[in-house]
Amino acid sequence: MRPGPLLAALATSLRRNLAMTCAVVVTVTICLALLGAGLLLRAQARTVDRFLLDQIEVVVDLRDGLTDANRSALRAELAADPLVTKVTYETKKDVYERFRRDFRSSPDVVAGIGPDDLPASFRLTLVDPRDAEEIVYAYTGRDGVEAVRDQRALLGPLYRFLDAFTLGAFALAAAQAVASFTLIYTMIRISAHARRKETAIMRLVGATNATIRAPFVLESALAGLLGGLLAAAVLVLAKIYLVDGRFAHQTMFPLFGWDAVWTAVAVVLAVGVAAAAGMASVALRRHLRV
């Protein structure tokens, strides 16, 4: 069919089916916004990961009263370890200063700790931060060593939080996808019923299956596109107001950038259009005899 008559058929169908199409757009929007949110959470986990892999250090806390000689010996041993690239010694005072800097936004925490409460330590930069566990295993319990801390392990709860929310967002998106499919299925059924005279005539005069189905698939794809655009708007607004506007002031971790948002937007739009058109094609097999 030429674009003109095809668009006319599409417009008629949309007009007749407005309420149903709106319902589809709303569900698709929610579904795609959740999908986008999941993608952004995953991007955030990766951003944090990248940041930490650069910065992460293993900290060897030293017992108070360790002699200078023993300390030098330990330092030499650490420096000779092939997994370690750099060893820095921090006195109790250095450690306290760092602590005050890291927790400057939580004065209550700082107030409760004095310079003497924190141990002097070696900070180790590793060749590959993922080998931290091996270092922890090797040096824990050595003479003069109070504890070996993998800073990355401290972030376990953060990773679990991000993972859980990502999974939750994807699961909710899947549930919404089911709801969207049900609605699109119903929309096609109603639409096919409303246009049964037209499609019967199309069949009789020799229109091809593709021509008969095209307006239905387009209608659904358009609803998918609208839902995708609305979901994209939600993601962009969330980035501006929620991520940059609020979270950026509350966390010391870097947050995902606009490139992650645009990637999510592209995925959301593509999935919206393709899935809606695909769902419509499935529904048409059931409801439109051609």
């Binding site: 069919m1 030429r2 003109g4 008559p5 008629t12 005279k197 037209e198 019967a200 005539i201 199309m202 069949r203 009789l204 005069v205 020799g206 229109a207 091809t208 299956n209 021509t211 008969i212």
Partner: protein
């Protein structure tokens, strides 16, 4: 143009076949009435020609093609060679007269300039010039059927199937529609018309095929609605044209 050889059509639910061992042949350019009581298989026969149904047994040929062996994606091509008119007109109420006729061309992808020239020509032919912008509910039954014929004819099909086209019309209007179908036939289109309208069949004196309980009981060259003295119920008369002339 149309050939059926030993065609039987059995529906899953029916106790007896809708069509039973029907053999007939209709040549290019013929005008043929298909008569018989309700349930005798007339509509089934038309549906077989459109590949709306498939024969249970036997051969159905339209324009030289074995209908059963046309692949699904080629069925639209078959339907473009076979126009259809129905008792209930089947017009789209939200489209104008011209819109209804143009629809048949639009949905098969004909270019706009073709649609723009062909539609007025066909409306002129069916006597609806000047009513292009009317909607179906503003037309009389006879005019609506003219629109339906225009729509069926606008793609220049080689065969026109008419299922009770005068069934909803008064006798005078029915005669007008018959004249129009004759014009279509004169233009070279083979016309097969299923009807209960005895008056029209008797007046026209065209070839008559009569079905009864799925069996072809009469094939008469210049028949009336009821069997005349020349009919032998259990023995078909010869088709009007020989087999060789019908193909293609």
């Amino acid at each position: 143009m149309i050939r059926l050889a030993s065609v039987t059509k059995r529906y899953a639910t029916g106790s007896r076949p809708a069509l039973s061992d029907v053999t007939l042949e209709i040549g290019v350019g013929e005008f043929v009435f298909l008569v018989g009581p309700s349930g005798s298989g007339k509509s089934t026969l038309l549906r077989l020609l459109l590949r709306e149904e498939r024969a249970t047994a036997g051969l159905v040929e339209v324009a030289g093609r074995d209908v059963a062996r046309i692949p699904d994606r080629r069925v639209p091509q078959l339907r473009r060679t076979v126009g259809c008119v129905f008792q209930d007109f089947r017009l789209l109420p939200d489209r104008t007269v011209a819109g209804n006729v143009a629809f048949a061309l639009d949905v098969v992808g004909r270019p706009r300039h073709v649609v723009r020239t062909v539609v007025p020509e066909v409306l002129e032919l069916v006597g609806l010039a000047g009513k292009e912008k009317r909607f179906p509910d503003e037309l009389s039954g006879g005019e609506q059927q003219r629109v339906a014929i225009a729509r069926a004819f606008v793609g220049r099909p080689r065969v026109l199937l008419a299922d009770e086209p005068t069934g909803n019309l008064d006798p005078a209007t029915g005669s007008e529609i018959m004249e129009l179908l004759e014009d279509v036939n004169q233009a070279g289109t083979t016309v097969l018309m299923a009807t209960h309208n005895a008056g029209l069949v008797d007046a026209m004196r065209r070839r008559v095929l009569e079905l009864d309980a799925g069996t072809l009981v009469r094939d008469e060259r210049r028949g009336g609605y009821d069997a005349g003295p020349v009919t032998i119920p259990d023995q078909r008369t010869e088709p009007v044209r020989p087999a060789g002339g019908a193909a293609g």
